[in-house]
Symmetry: C2
Subunit: 337 residues, 2 copies
Amino acid sequence: MEPDKVRAPNIRDVARLAGVSYQTVSRVLNNSESIKDTTKQRVLDVIAQVGYRPNQAARALVTSRTRTIGVLTSQTAHYGPTTSLHAIEEAAREAGYLISTTSLATSDHEAIVDRLEHLMRQAVEGLVVIAPQVRVFDAIRELEISVPLVTLDSTRRDDHRSLSVDQIAGARMATRHLIELGHREIVHLSGPQDWIEAEARMTGFLREVDEADLATHPPILGDWTADFGYHVGRELLRYRDFTAVFAANDQMALGLIHAFRDGGLDVPRDVSVVGFDDIPEAAHYWPPLTTVRQDFAEIGRRSVAMLLGELRGDAEANHEQVFPELIVRESTAPPRI
Amino acid sequence: MEPDKVRAPNIRDVARLAGVSYQTVSRVLNNSESIKDTTKQRVLDVIAQVGYRPNQAARALVTSRTRTIGVLTSQTAHYGPTTSLHAIEEAAREAGYLISTTSLATSDHEAIVDRLEHLMRQAVEGLVVIAPQVRVFDAIRELEISVPLVTLDSTRRDDHRSLSVDQIAGARMATRHLIELGHREIVHLSGPQDWIEAEARMTGFLREVDEADLATHPPILGDWTADFGYHVGRELLRYRDFTAVFAANDQMALGLIHAFRDGGLDVPRDVSVVGFDDIPEAAHYWPPLTTVRQDFAEIGRRSVAMLLGELRGDAEANHEQVFPELIVRESTAPPRI
DNA sequence: ACGTGAGATGTGTACGTTCACATTTCTCGT
DNA sequence: ACGAGAAATGTGAACGTACACATCTCACGT
């Protein structure tokens, strides 16, 4: 006939056992000065002894500070967003913040609103959005979200802060590399239509092709996966009206190369392929992939720094850019003939 | 001279505007029955109009329910843990729970304790541990954590629930496949020493080799990365006293293959390579990788189901196993001669 | 017309903490 | 030895919600 659950000790229990008032315990918890060392130690001993853990809900209620940053991610377990997320978690932790992550199961408007509402109910103090779908921004505007917000991978110039890798520049570098090798018929395998990143890379590609006065092949819309890249590669084999492909990420590039090889084409002898992201495996693909490197971890860290800056009230620059880097390996070569 | 921050509307504000008591608003929020439809609608209208959001801290304080599940992940952005994490988040969300994720920056005892303490302060109702380092279990025991706990990828049989892919069985399948092809000199490239997964795969490998009465090459300890696989491959080229390698994950397998090719060896003609995990890119590697598939998403989903079951008080089975599957592709073949 | 009971709504209180302010205790210099 | 001021500690209230219980309202059968 034991009581089913014993109530967890609270600040008053600790105070009683230490022979002080609850306020003194609170001071110890918050590292207040003007506490006698002996008293402080006595309180700490009791805390350790009874295994007291401050109730964050009560604390948040009275201070109206949650020390939590909300992160909205896309539904996929891609390397880039994941790496950024880890960096965000680490940077936030170091600053004494915690992370509440939620991901988008679907990218329809309702789901986005639901997830944002969820984060706001959590009373997050700031928001990092790594879900670079265009629609997210509409939802944010609609909900009149008032906490500081940083978006990643956006090329938008909106009323919130953003941090982006200059995807357009990266795409231009990749495209220019192919052009400089002598390619004149270049196909672009893009990401999904509503991803801002995909749009930016496509824009960069089109601009570069345009400036070089080359014929424009209509970009193909992909879904970021190697499987899709493979299927596209099989299709492309039927036309052969190109000498190079710029894929919007490394996985699709891998699928393309696989399909080309299956079709009897050699990369880079018969066709050059460039990827994007420089995931850690890209250097070990066969052939090692020429790609555009982005520092996802750096982006994550800096996004937290920006957010914390805004939380502290600094009126810093609103938009930062991180520059990507072209990594030339062995999947690109001059066209035959 | 505006007031700097307007207080967010609370339940009493809503009540006043709707001309009802705060308790009635509370009833609407909690979908209580015995609310007149017209009243309910009036309250909902006010809520929407003023943008009222219930304060979770206050709610948690009084109900002592946070509806939060804590997740402890390893420090790395690997495909497997990440995929499981996504599945966990989704499953939890569907059950009305939220996720508080924290990752291990380092795997020393202090860091682990710090992270666990952190989650407990958040008053998580349950814990999912995807950080399969051995030391985590010591910390959990030491902290006398009382909330329901599910660990992933563990082969331990402890006092908490666990859900694991039978890594030993998977490793045996991979090894047996090589043996059945006729290989007698097989090297194992393992994961880091303190990872339970790595240990289990090594155990499976050693058992199978032992049962087949083959000479045992001492396993090589790796770090899961393709880069490391490449370096090991370069080293191995100097000996050539093996005809097959079983790598503990696909990335290391990729690096190995790269190194072998650089050294003039053909996979699978000169040496066979098997990976583990079946990440989505494995089918598109060159050659397409023979590997062991694990359903990471399934694991994530089931871990949440187990946890919720325990939270509801079901006394279900304590340990579930998920079986992996051997996927034979083109990186394995009979040994030459 | 009136009591009855169910349905609808209202009131008091507790959750565990921090903040503002009040009070006590110590440490000096004289 | 004493008072002033600083240091240390204590008291009352508030944060926003849900629960237990109390009260009000209304339809209905007699």
